[in-house]
């Protein structure tokens, strides 16, 4: 299978700070690939190197089969980039934003007009075409940013924290648009610190922490490898001493306010805990998620 991105021992330093400390990544054509990790894990620095904006400090990197150091503009011509912070031209109209961005790629004015029309539909912003961007909602701006990144019909779309700061409804609307792109064969690379987003969107992902890759696989594989089928969450009053329940689960994680019991059967474990006379304030049985994978790998939760 053809790889659109290949990184070997890739590093990025800012002065003495090592943001990315030697990562190996391969992104295949047609897949949705994720970088999951907390803030400061090195996801954005990696994305900026892949988007051929920021040079690498060391290691190897090929994007679309080319070296970003040599062919930056040629690669960027075939990429779509959705930055973490919106950088739309807020004093121009929605339509102008799309058209002007198309011109940056050297497209003819007629082609830009045509493409803008199409993308207004895609972003569900056709009725706002002549409005200035500034007063639009966060979700609309985000959709416009994504639409804008598609103006050159990119083979590879890079999305850095695409739904951070959006309300649930806006997030789902956005995910729907991204699914559609995936269906159309666009390769996606997504960074996120939301595990549900990674689970929803990514075929394959790497968990990043402290500039390194902690694990790699599909969401299902990672959960299978690093967690149990179910998790029993027991909440205790703040400050209360938590009982030792190690014998009821394969593994127990102690969080400030909760105990997480990793087990194949959560209900059964809960029954045993009750039999034992332990009375938590609240109990919950759920499926394992990438959050649990991350906790297992790093000993920390994703969103602090």
């Amino acid at each position: 299978m053809e790889n659109l991105v290949e990184a070997k021992a890739l590093t990025k330093h800012f002065g003495t700070f090592e943001a990315v400390r030697g990562i190996d990544v391969e992104v295949r054509r047609g897949e949705a690939f994720g970088f999951l990790g907390p803030n400061g894990a090195g996801k954005s620095s990696t994305m900026r190197m892949i988007s051929c904006v920021s040079g690498r400090t060391g290691g190897e990197l090929r994007v679309l089969g080319m070296d970003p150091e040599v062919d930056g503009p040629r690669i960027r011509a075939r990429l779509g980039v959705v930055p973490q912070l919106d950088n739309l031209d807020t004093e121009l109209t929605v339509r102008q934003n799309l058209q002007i961005y198309g011109r940056y790629f050297g497209m003819s004015r007629a082609r830009c007009r045509e493409k803008a029309e199409e993308l207004l539909e895609f972003a569900q912003l056709a009725d706002r075409a002549e409005h200035e961007v500034e007063p639009l909602s966060g979700g609309m701006k985000r959709r416009l940013t994504i639409a804008r990144s598609l103006v050159n019909e990119p083979e590879l779309l890079l999305l850095d924290e695409p739904t951070t700061g959006l309300d649930p409804q806006a997030r789902h609307l956005l995910w729907d648009r991204l699914f559609r792109l995936k269906q159309d064969g666009v390769t996606l690379i997504i960074t996120t610190h939301y595990m549900d987003e990674a689970e929803q969107l990514c075929d394959r992902l790497v968990v990043m922490d402290g500039g390194r890759i902690a694990a790699e696989g599909s969401p299902g594989e990672l959960i299978g490898r690093y967690s149990t089928r179910e998790v029993l969450e027991l909440r205790f009053p703040p400050g209360a001493e938590k009982p030792d329940l190690g014998r009821f689960a394969e593994r127990v994680e102690v969080l400030p306010d909760r105990l997480l019991l990793y087990t194949g059967d959560g209900e059964q474990a809960l029954a045993k805990v009750h039999e034992h006379g332990v009375q938590p304030v609240q109990s919950l049985v759920r499926r394992s998620s990438l959050e649990d994978v991350f906790l297992r790998l790093t000993g920390r939760t994703l969103v602090d």
Partner: protein
């Protein structure tokens, strides 16, 4: 060729913005210089006796070509400070541009093109108004338009480079107060620099405004000799080139991280 094309697309963005927002900038770019011409040229100038030192011409006509240059230098200062910082930090439009095939250097070129265009526009309007007010001594004042734009760019290019290094706009206030203000008042626009103390002259010679004013006034009254003219143009040209070279460096440092 590719560079010119890419820079042109960046220029188009600025032009699209200007078409929507020019009214907001019209007062500072067109009205203010005209008010200066009316107050100091027509009003104050009526009380000023023409002397040998100012070439024996009416003060209004003496002032007009120099004010074209002052207008351009002032415009250059405004356009090369806050708008540049805004596009790095607040609007982030430069950040958006370098995600496309456009390079940081081409972003800078697009801005130099844009500022140059705006300065030329301002100078054209100003000369038009000056002609209507009888402040134009002759057709030579038309040459003041490109010369003023050159002097403006000679200040703009290094200033843009400097703006690209800043994280907050505080330094701009000092540039307006301690560089632009004296450069407006003491570089020969309102009175000949020979009236200044000798020790100050080397400082005056460093300013792009003085070279621009010498050129514009000399062209207007036909008193310009070839050699000094070439000298002034060369100095301004060097400032533009140095500014652009530094600008490329600092824009790259700021955008390619």
């Amino acid at each position: 060729m590719e560079t010119l094309r890419a820079s042109w697309f960046g220029f188009e963005r600025s032009w699209a913005w200007y078409r929507r927002n020019w009214r907001a900038t019209a007062v500072s770019s067109f009205l203010t210089p005209v008010l200066f011409l009316l107050a100091l040229g027509v009003g104050f100038g009526s009380q000023v006796r023409s002397t040998e030192l100012i070439g024996g011409v009416p003060y209004l006509q003496y002032l007009a070509p120099a004010l074209v240059v002052v207008t351009a230098v002032q415009g250059a200062t405004f356009e090369s400070t806050y708008p540049i910082m805004a596009q790095f930090m607040w609007q982030k439009s430069f950040i958006a541009m370098v995600s496309t095939p456009i390079t940081p250097a081409q972003v800078l070129y697009s801005q130099v093109m844009w500022v140059g265009t705006q300065l030329t526009l301002r100078a054209v309007v100003f000369v038009g108004v000056a002609a209507l007010l009888g402040a134009a001594a002759g057709p030579g004042i038309l040459l003041a338009i490109p010369l003023a734009a050159l002097a403006g760019l000679a200040f703009s290019a290094p200033l843009m480079a400097y703006s690209a290094t800043l994280e907050k706009p505080d330094a701009f206030t000092n540039i307006f107060r301690f560089v632009l203000m004296p450069m407006t008042l003491f570089t020969g626009a309102f009175f000949p620099v020979s009236q200044l103390p000798d020790w100050l002259l080397p400082l005056v010679w460093l300013t792009p405004a003085w070279h621009g004013i010498e050129l514009a006034r000399g062209a207007t009254f036909g008193t310009l000799d070839l050699l000094p003219a070439l000298g002034h143009i060369a100095y301004l040209g060097v400032l533009v080139v140095v500014g652009v070279v530094l600008g490329v460096k600092f824009f790259h440092r700021r955008l390619a991280v």
